[in-house]
Amino acid sequence: MSVAEPLLTVQDLEVQFKTDEGIVRAVNGISYEVKAGASVGLVGESGCGKSVSSLALMRLIPQPAGRIVNGRIRFQGNDMLALSQAEMREIRGKHIAMIFQDPMNSLNPVLTIGRQIDEAQTLHLGVNAKEARRRTIDLLDIVGIPSPADRANDYPHQLSGGMQQRAMIAMAISCQPALLIADEPSTALDVTIQAQVIELLARLRRDLKMAVILITHDLALVAGFCEQVMVMYAGYVVESAPAREVFRNPRHPYTLGLMGSIPKITGDRRARLTAIPGAPPNMVHLPPGCPFAARCPFVLEECRAALPALASVGLNHLARCIVDVKTGKPR
């Protein structure tokens, strides 16, 4: 692995699912890089492919309905799509860890949380049971669970939602992974608990020098956490830029619409939200042109004919749109 190579490179990733209605084109050729220690936000609404694209990184696409039909995934110099199942098991949990929205469904209800966190370490790090438990208690302490030695003997149902998510995070970081994929980690939690969990993730990223991919529907969450943001729509990346750039200078009509849809916490309360009309397209019958054309206030004739390319619109700033949203005219 050369020094310059990013931690993770995804190229032209395409994922499809066979369903009764036809082939669902969940992810339609996305490319990005994650550098060691970076934080990348993957933002979009339900069904935009944000979760599926990261499950593909772990080769966890449900088989046989789902299939990676195209693309390359390189992680730490490995071609992830060429690895054997055994090699993948070595990477999952040890080098790439994942946390999900619902901690209650991700934890095994019949094992104590200590036992579950021990297991990852005895498996991947080859430490003995005693050493694993010592580390587990330390991990629970790091993620802010009070009286960690006692809590390690608790079953998941004995913990609150926020504490369960902390336990999940402790498990995820137990082998000091180079990459953590956090899929809506705080969505099921209350506002104050959500702030705690996001703050914890930010601290751990710094302390462990771990890259984080944050998958969320909440554009605002990304603003405080991520350096790089990718906005997804209907299986495509429609905009990609450094976080400040996305918020200060959004260049895709969907990103603009998403921002207009979020109520503000300051400013004029009487201004109506500029909601996006309509609904996302059916992923079985994606239109030939831009998938956002039917809902787009800037739509031109050409938009419906051909899919616009993801083109550079500024420094490190890409947008899949032929219109300049500032003037409403073709770029």
Partner: protein, 362 residues
């Protein structure tokens, strides 16, 4: 189109005949029962513990709080879906708690409810037309069949759907469309008040914004009042004229939206507002968070004194001993905190606590 509900009156909050809804000291306890052979009550969950507020015609009150704070129970106790343990729910001058089931039914025509889950709240075996028509039949408001059909079509168009949808079934619609159908059903009986319990929480952001706009449009056109229950402070600000913040079964602060958001006074409101993510990296990098430690205690065994004191960064000895009453501090602004004045004077910066956990800036 003929008016669907009472036409919008003057500006909200200006009724001559008192408020539309007056909730006084509302209490709802759920018994905790043990034992298989001899059932006995061993305690109670104090879900709503003495809540009072008013809502005027055409006004929206936002009821905001985290899960388990009692906001949903408050909504169902007002609707008499749960019989309140005590307290009064005076709607248009009549105390619902004291009415018989039959009398309640007549009043309830003017009160409707929208639920969070648009998948669970519509009967999958009924066509959309039947769903919207049902309240007309229940309340015996029906005329001839053709009149009812016209009314259903009119309601569908009112909520932004095509009249042709009446023959289709709920599974054919997306979450946002279903929520519109739920609004059409609620509006069928021309209510003057609707309880909206997390109506956009299950929806995507762009679809949620459509429903928020619909809700506001309907209020402008029809003058309907809302109790808007939500955990989302941003959405609550957008729709509410006034806001009440709940914590563990009590209202801890209430104020007009335009006062509450720029000037939160209760430590819990401060913490909630500081935890809301803002879609602006500049703001996010500068803001100071009041990060609360710990979780919400059980409402079966709430803390003594101020219920927030175990998590409050400003708590003092008095807070654990004496419960602060909800006290008016400004026009329409009331707060239940012994020390709101001192906290505000100190600029709302939490003190470093003796246990070594300062509220850190993030």
């Amino acid at each position: 189109m003929k008016p669907v509900a009472a036409a919008a009156t003057s500006t909200p909050g200006q009724d001559q005949n008192g408020p539309l809804l007056d909730v006084r000291n509302l209490v709802k306890y759920f018994p905790i029962v043990r034992g298989a052979i001899i059932r006995r009550q061993v305690g109670s969950v104090r879900a709503v513990d003495g809540v009072s507020f008013t809502i005027s015609a055409g006004e929206t009150l936002g009821l905001v709080g985290e899960s388990g704070c009692g906001k949903t129970t408050t909504g169902s106790a007002i609707m008499q879906l749960e019989r309140p343990t005590s307290g009064e729910v005076i709607f248009a001058g009549r105390d619902l708690v004291r009415l018989s089931r039959e009398q309640q039914r007549a009043v309830r025509r003017q009160m409707q409810m929208i639920f969070q889950d648009p998948y669970g709240s519509l009967n999958p075996r009924m066509s959309v037309g039947k769903i919207i028509e049902e309240p007309l039949l229940v309340h015996r408001l029906y005329g001839p069949r053709s009149e009812r059909r016209d009314r259903v079509h009119q309601l569908l168009e009112l909520v932004g759907l095509s009249a042709t949808f009446a023959v289709r079934y709920p599974h054919e619609f997306s979450g946002g469309q279903r929520q519109r159908i739920a609004f059409a059903r609620a509006l069928a009986v021309q209510p003057s008040f609707i309880v909206c319990d997390e109506p956009v929480s299950a929806l995507d952001v762009s679809i949620g914004a459509q429903i928020i706009n619909l809700l506001q449009d309907l209020q402008e056109q029809l003058g309907v009042a809302y109790l808007f229950i939500s955990h989302d402070l941003k959405v609550v600000r957008q729709v509410s004229h006034r806001v009440a913040v709940m914590y563990l079964g009590k209202i801890v602060e209430t104020a007009p939206s335009d006062q509450l958001y720029p000037r939160p006074l209760h430590p819990y409101t401060r913490a909630l507002l500081s935890a809301v993510p803002v879609a602006d990296p500049e703001v996010e990098s500068k803001r100071r968070r009041v990060i609360l430690t710990g979780d919400v205690p059980s409402p079966a065994n709430p803390p003594s004194g101020c219920r927030f004191h175990p998590r409050c960064p400003w708590a003092q000895a008095r807070c654990g001993a004496e419960e602060p009453p909800l006290t008016a501090v400004d026009r329409g602004h009331a707060v239940a905190c012994h020390f709101w004045n001192d906290i505000e004077a100190a600029g709302g910066v939490p003190p470093v606590r003796s246990n070594g956990h300062p509220a850190k800036p993030t």
